[in-house]
């Protein structure tokens, strides 16, 4: 029977998974497949497993629980193997590599930060600081119907907004970087100007969180900071 694979840990990991279930409907029981110094957390998966969002949550919950007791290599969501033997072979084949990754990530957690800024605040800033933008805006508001004006204003404002977003994103990453081991930036989506993951050592965690808190306080309520963590190191495995 096919098995869904959640994570890899050291075989010595206590794997307290009581009360948790895996993916599928009805949710499958979790179990482990051992291969030398490594263990994989798996559950049986029916051939026609069609994951829903609750399965994403199950996947994530398993990682979080395992994190409590040791280092974990979280697998990408949705990976299945033919059977327990296939899992065992995969672990054996890359045993050294996975063991090294586990050692490298020991005591580390991922923190994920997204940030947005109130758009009106940014636009006000642009209009205040750019005399050209202000002139165009005033002309339009005064009733000038030249269709080129809104385009010129919009183009200018978009550039200014992007520049400011980039400066903000760079500034925030810069402020947090000293407390992190690695970082990984992604394209922000929606209203966000920042989408970044940090790998943080346990010993730096407190300082990292304090720095982030300081930033949010300094930047004020015009900003929307969403910080998530400690998370399994999805971005750094």
């Amino acid at each position: 029977m096919a098995v869904y694979v959640y994570s890899i840990t050291a075989a010595t990991h206590p794997q307290h998974l009581d009360g948790l279930t895996g993916v599928g409907d009805p949710p499958a029981p979790l179990r482990t497949v051992r291969a030398g110094p490594l263990s994989a957390i798996v559950s049986d998966a029916s051939e026609d497993l069609r994951p829903k969002r609750r399965d994403l949550l199950a996947h994530q919950t398993v990682q979080q629980r395992l994190m409590a007791d040791g280092t974990v290599l979280p697998l990408r969501f949705g990976l299945t193997a033919d059977d327990d033997n296939a899992v065992r072979e995969a672990l054996e084949q890359r045993c050294d590599e996975y063991t090294q990754r586990l050692t490298a990530l020991e005591g580390c957690a991922e923190y994920h930060l997204k940030a947005a800024i109130d758009e009106d605040v940014l636009l006000r800033q642009v209009l205040t600081e750019s005399s050209e933008a202000r002139r165009l805006n005033d002309d339009i508001k005064a009733g000038d119907t030249n269709p080129d004006l809104p385009l010129a204003l919009g183009e200018l404002v978009v550039q200014e907004v992007q520049t400011r977003h980039q400066a903000l994103a760079a500034g925030i990453a810069e402020a947090l970087r000293p407390y992190t081991r690695q970082e990984r930036t992604s394209e922000p989506t929606g209203d966000d100007f920042l989408n970044i993951s940090f790998l943080v050592d346990q010993e730096n965690q407190e300082r990292f969180l304090a720095a982030e808190k300081g930033l949010t306080e300094e930047l004020g309520e015009d900003f929307d900071f969403r910080m998530y963590g400690p998370l399994p190191a999805y971005s750094f495995v």
Binding site: R65, R101, H112, L151, L219
Partner: protein, 146 residues
């Protein structure tokens, strides 16, 4: 502080409604990152993949320009007179290290429209609507609320 295992949703501080918003915000980590073992097979993600809001195709377009122009026209500059000063100070402060990143943030009306429709789409067939992004929204009136 130690590494405290938190609930599955593990939010330390989010703008949105706690755990429900958090899974949305870390979906890309669960779906796109994590270890890949190449001999394993990935199950079909139809119905889940649509949640990934990574469409950011139109960075500069006429629609975008017009939307921003309108947003500017609508602004009451007097009302927000204090805000820009504060922001400028802070930006100067936190960027004084000279960092100039490559983050390519951009607001685009077109992208918003696409993601809104994606969201609506996924809301319709979704049995767990609480996973939609839910966070305080401050945006110009023209943009649709989620």
């Amino acid at each position: 502080m130690t590494v405290v295992p938190q609930s599955a949703s593990s939010v330390s501080r989010g703008g949105g409604g706690g755990g429900t918003a958090s899974l949305y915000d870390i979906l890309e980590l669960i779906l796109d990152r994590g270890l890949v073992i190449d001999v394993f097979i990935r199950v079909s993600l139809v119905g889940i993949e649509i949640l990934k809001i990574d469409v950011r195709i139109v960075v500069a377009s006429v629609d975008t320009y017009l939307r921003f122009a309108e947003a500017c026209n609508r602004l009451d500059l007097e009302a927000g007179r204090k805000a820009p000063t504060q922001l400028t100070d802070v930006v100067g402060k936190i960027t004084e290290g000279g960092a100039r990143g490559k983050t390519k943030g951009a607001l685009t009306g077109a992208v918003e429209a696409i993601t809104d429709s994606l969201r609506q789409e996924s809301d319709r067939d979704d049995e767990e609507p609480e996973l939609r992004r839910a966070r305080p929204v401050r945006r110009p009136a023209r943009r649709r609320e989620e």
